[in-house]
Point group: C2
Chain length 251, copies 2
């Protein structure tokens, strides 16, 4: 493997390295297979640990390394002996036409596991894009990609500089209702009739919640138990699958 | 702090140490506060890093350590300068009367983050207990406790030696329907009328799914998108909140 590729690979474990290079690091059999299925055009090169079988990898782009060498490169990561370096799919411009009936907005989610899980779940329900606000996790970081099973290559991401900028962009694109999850009050996710109609649903940072949203409707996930709150990825899951349920003929 | 407490604390980061001692390690302000609220009787002692404020801690059981000393003890963990050592609440016997209208069964969930998230979500929907099968994650490990926000002290856990043994115990307690999540077919979680009536819902291991369950009904979570599967904690969340929705007057 060339020195250039080696240093690129090392750089991709840092946010700075990802930003400067425009590439990202995809690790593990499942995530690499999803990348191959979704966006083979973005693959720059793949690296295999000797003895690991992965017959779907593009042969002409794949380097096999001896175990010791592979491990020295992949030392900080949980790779299962398989890595791919891919161009980041990049962000969709804020003013591009919307692709979904409602917008899921993630306001500075900080945990890459939560962020990745939400992208993966959004993909499962058929959402085409996710709206994010600057100051959260790097969507193309290795942990976010792993938790998402590479769903970042199937679901587009938009990035606004602030929640205010995002609200403006959404309004320009015809969004008329803004919902903001609140712990103990508001419109029930199971009963609000217009939840998914030309709306934006904003989920906030794990520690601090979403930023101020003047005029937003409070949205509540009913919790009969004694817990104070849900993990943000679980809250997103309840909301996303409520949209699926409404499409189904439910009981 | 006594040598005995020091070595107990170190031992609790391993499964073996937790099993032998019967204690567990609760870290971070939120998790320790939940422990204090839920089961103060189980607290053996607390440890604070000097300068960290935690005014709800039981003073007579709390040791304040200088920063360097605290960090040497908490080196492997993400503690925010606050730890509690508590007796494990232990398992409920398999033949004790059931406390919930349906049983959520986790068949060898392997990831402590997933396991903890499911317990936390079960608590949020008001479930009193969780059924587990030997061979999965330690419910009282530090990562599982952290992901659960200490919900292990609010939700009881049962442990069977095998899925077969668990099915026998559930049948003895009046459970007549067994559902097993399947990726692409089966009764829809949103439409199956008897999903939560004297039933058991079995979620399987992340890599291998649930073990064989003769006679079980396949349960499907509809996924209009292109994803192959959901993370197991997201699947559990959809199921658990469907039970909440049915209690609400939904639209």
């Amino acid at each position: 493997m060339s020195k250039r590729r080696e240093s690129l690979l090392r750089a991709l474990t840092t946010r700075h390295g990802r930003k400067n290079s425009g590439y990202c690091l995809v690790e593990g059999l499942r995530c690499v297979n999803e990348l191959i299925a979704l966006r083979p055009d973005l693959i720059e090169f793949c690296v295999l640990r000797e003895g690991v079988c992965a017959d779907r990898l593009p042969g002409e782009k794949t380097t096999v390394l001896e175990a010791r060498k592979f491990d020295s490169l992949a030392a900080t990561v949980n790779s299962q002996g398989i890595l791919a370096i891919a161009k980041q799919p990049g962000y969709v411009p804020l003013d591009a036409p919307r692709k979904d009936p409602y917008a899921l907005v993630l306001d500075r989610i900080a945990d890459p596991g939560n962020f990745g899980t939400i992208i993966r779940t959004a993909r499962a329900v058929g959402l085409k894009e996710i709206w994010t606000v600057k100051g959260g996790v790097d969507p193309f970081g290795d942990k976010a990609l792993r938790s998402a099973s590479s769903a970042q290559f199937a679901v587009s991401i938009r990035l606004a500089g602030s929640l205010e900028e995002m609200v403006g962009a959404l309004k320009n694109l015809g969004v008329t209702r803004f919902f903001r999850t609140e712990p103990a009050e508001g419109h029930s996710v199971f009963r609000e009739p217009e939840l998914f109609q030309e709306s934006a649903i904003v989920l906030g940072n794990e520690a601090n919640g979403a930023g101020p949203l003047p005029g937003a409707l409070p949205l509540n996930i009913p919790m009969p138990g004694s817990a104070e709150s849900l993990n943000v990825a679980q809250a997103a899951t309840v909301i996303l699958f409520e949209s699926v349920r409404r499409m189904e003929k439910s009981i």
